[in-house]
């Protein structure tokens, strides 16, 4: 699966969750780099990603994430197992 559309979608999600359009989503991006990325916002981020990609992470998977690269790898594994469409609808209509 191509990573580019995943990054594109994650960029939208990051801008929405952190309410900051200047965030550049790269594989090495981590909590140290973003203002307001605390443990609570992390959970809100993960929940938003789950909803957008129509996947569910396990508790231990969520605990192991170190940076965006890990997250993308996890989305790829999950999405390939998922019977749902690989690419979800755009954010505003995903509800």
């Amino acid at each position: 699966m191509d990573e580019a559309p995943i990054y594109a979608r994650l960029t939208e999600i990051f801008h929405d969750v952190f309410d900051e359009d200047s965030i550049r989503v790269t594989p090495v991006l981590s909590a140290h780099d973003v203002d307001g990325w605390d443990s609570l916002t992390h959970i809100r981020l993960i929940l938003t990603v789950e909803k957008a990609f129509k996947i569910k992470f396990t508790t231990s998977e969520i605990g192991k994430l170190e940076n965006v690269g890990d997250l993308v790898a996890l989305i790829k594994t999950r999405a390939s197992r998922s019977t749902l469409g690989i690419l979800p609808a755009p954010l505003e209509n995903s509800r």
């Binding site: 929405d16 969750v17 309410d19 443990s39 609570l40 959970i43 809100r44 929940l47 938003t48 508790t59 969520i62 505003e92 509800r95």
Partner: protein, 643 residues
């Protein structure tokens, strides 16, 4: 998950440019209140609510005006992580007309916060305290099959809640909002759990019932979270992964729903709930179009699936009327044609005498809704419009954003449920006046008819055979006094809002003069219609802190009689001067000349429109009105009961 509830489907979907609109708004200096409320009135998801809530809080902290949103300071005590819920709650409150400020002490410090006089919560001077506790906050021990031990556990839990309440009351005097406890879906025996003393389900059932009884007796407020959780499903409500990860008491997907429900309660405390249900006719309360299909063609029969769906709407409307919600009709129709089913159709539940205002004509709905509000002397923001036509709904939302207009699904089978799910008529108390209210408005329509026939106003007033009754604040009147203080907008000189504990405080303070006024006439009892609070100012001066009146009794010279009564008591108390103030809001233009008409002298005026008035007690004898007067419950010397 049932999307009606989890996605707040009675609200319109947000526009794609939500984030941009919010940013533009946050940067502007215009009046933010109406715009924030407009943005909040969509079905926002958690991230959108979070952004909006933060924007509202930021504006408040920067001292920007959020008028006409009504301020309320809420302290939240919780045994779970509520940080993610709070911004969403602020945004949901804006949807219901409240500018919410949240006080949040450290995590899981419930007892310390409630019981320590100078704690964060108690020292923040909150209007209300929410005990956002779930079952894991209670000292519960299973005692399977042991009724005695189960009862002790229930009493222990109730005692704990009571102790918290007493602490909050003693230290901050705020209104307490308790949550009922949603049981987890994991059962031990299965169905037996409900019946067997000492299981978790049994204990929580008992605690919820006793908590409800305690609240009814104390005047605190219940947020029935157990019912909310059951409505969406306990397995959807409780999310073990989120509890383990971050101690979230319920699923993140239900935060928007939780926020909206709590916001309704806060709005009800502030008297901002809706009061009138305006119904469309064709394809809303019956199937088909009366003008085309005729009396025989429209669908309202029992046994017809579509007809029963519309009957369910009628039944809900009727039940709402029975608890005091006023019903009105707004329909694009010819008047006689529209009335025909009400008069002649045997299956109709709604009849003309259930309807306070009947507007069937070809004007646009926005004008008709304005006319309905005027006829009832209620604000536009008291109205809810139920209409199957998306074009009409869109038009009304655009022209009259203050009117609540629920989205409706395609299938009329879900109309009644959707209207109920929207919770427009949330109430925190139910008093006798509520029961009588629908009748008041119909009586008013008849009084207005009578007025048209009479030659002079005085003759009309005479013919009403009114009896006015004055009492000081007392226990039986307290709930209604509080309700009036919090919902009167138009005939209200100062629009000061007080909670029930504050009203009680005034009641017991010997230096404060209080007045509750009732009015009866030949058409019936209007109940309590006016409230006055005078506080001591300089020596021998009373400052009129609060003077409000129900608009139902406008034009009856009640205010003259009230002033006469105040003067009577002022004289016995040795008061020389009354001081009044008019504080303008966007709703109380009606009383800008109140004091002038009563003979007060204007002594000062501020640029904001604030005016100050005085009246010397000596020599002040305002005109009387033709009504019988009863004054009781005051110091014996001042009592007057007609022979």
């Amino acid at each position: 998950m049932n999307s009606l509830y989890s996605e707040l489907q009675w609200l319109p979907r947000p526009k794609p440019d939500f984030s941009e609109s919010l940013k533009a708004l946050a940067a502007s200096d215009d009046s933010l209140g109406p715009e924030m409320r407009a943005l909040a009135s969509y079905a926002l998801d958690l991230n959108q609510l979070t952004k909006l809530g933060k924007a509202v809080s930021k504006a408040r902290k920067e001292g920007k005006s959020l008028d006409p949103l009504v301020p309320l300071r809420l302290a939240v005590l919780s045994n779970s992580t509520i940080d993610m819920t709070l911004p969403a709650l602020v945004a949901s409150a804006a949807r219901h007309g409240i500018a919410l400020e949240v006080i949040q002490p450290s995590y899981d410090q419930i007892a310390q916060e409630a019981l320590t006089p100078g704690s964060t919560v108690n020292s923040s001077n909150p209007d209300a305290v929410l005990l956002a506790m779930d079952y894991r906050a209670l000292p519960l021990k299973l005692s399977l099959g042991n009724a005695e031990a189960a009862s002790a556990t229930v009493q222990g839990a109730l005692g704990y809640l009571q102790t918290l309440r007493n602490g909050i009351k003693a230290n901050s005097n705020a209104v307490c909002i308790f949550q009922s406890f949603a049981p987890p879906p994991e059962s031990l025996f299965g169905s037996l759990d409900r019946a067997l003393p000492g299981t978790l389900r049994y204990l929580l059932d008992e605690i919820n019932r006793e908590l409800a009884a305690m609240i009814r007796a104390s005047g605190d407020v219940l947020f029935d979270v157990a019912f909310l959780a059951e409505t969406v499903g306990l397995a959807e409500w409780h999310n073990p992964q989120l509890w383990n990860l971050g101690k979230f008491a319920f699923s993140d997907e239900l935060i928007p729903l939780y926020g909206d429900h709590l916001a309704r309660i806060l709005a009800a405390i502030r008297g901002k709930s809706r009061k009138v249900l305006v119904l469309d006719l064709d394809n809303t309360i019956w199937g088909g179009v009366i003008g085309d299909d005729g009396l025989e063609g429209i669908k309202i029969a029992q046994g017809d699936a579509r007809g029963e769906a519309h009957l369910a709407v009628q039944r809900l409307a009727l039940d709402l009327a029975s608890r005091g919600i006023v019903l009105a009709i707004s329909s694009k129709n010819t008047d006689e044609v529209a009335r025909e089913p009400f008069l002649k159709h045997p299956e109709m539940l709604l009849r003309l005498d259930h309807i306070a205002v009947f507007q069937a004509n070809w004007n646009d709905k926005a004008s008709n809704l304005k006319a309905i509000a005027e006829e009832l002397s209620l604000g536009i923001d008291s109205l809810v419009l139920l209409d199957d036509n998306p074009v009409e709904r869109g038009l009304v939302r655009k022209l009259l954003p203050q009117v609540a207009v629920p989205e409706l699904p395609e299938d009329p089978a879900y109309y009644a449920r959707t209207l109920a799910a929207a919770g427009y008529f949330e109430a925190v108390a139910f008093v006798d006046e509520d029961l009588k209210r629908a009748g008041f408005y119909q009586d008013n329509a008849r009084r207005a008819d009578l007025l048209k026939q009479m030659s002079g106003v005085d003759a009309y007033l005479e013919s009403l055979e009114m009896t006015i009754t004055f009492l000081p604040f007392d226990g039986p009147g307290r709930a209604r006094i509080t309700q009036l203080i919090n919902k009167s907008n138009q005939y209200n000189l100062t629009t000061r809002r007080y909670t029930e504990p504050e009203v009680e405080e005034a009641e017991h303070d010997p230096n404060v003069f209080t007045l509750q006024v009732r009015l009866a006439d030949t058409f019936g009892d209007n109940g309590m219609i006016s409230v006055v609070i005078c506080r001591p100012g300089e020596p021998e001066v009373w400052e009129i802190d609060t003077w409000l009146m129900s608009c139902r009794v406008l034009g009856r010279k009640v205010e003259h009689m009230v002033l006469r009564e105040i003067l009577q008591h002022a004289r016995s108390a040795g008061i020389r001067k009354l001081k009044g103030v008019y504080r303008p809001t966007d709703r109380n233009k009606l009383v800008v000349d109140h004091y002038a008409k009563l003979g007060f002298t204007k002594v000062a005026e501020e640029e904001s429109g604030l005016t100050f008035w005085e009246l010397l007690v000596e020599g002040a004898y305002p005109e009387s009105a033709p009504m019988k007067l009863v004054s009781q419950g005051f110091a014996a010397a001042a009592e007057r009961v007609p022979a």
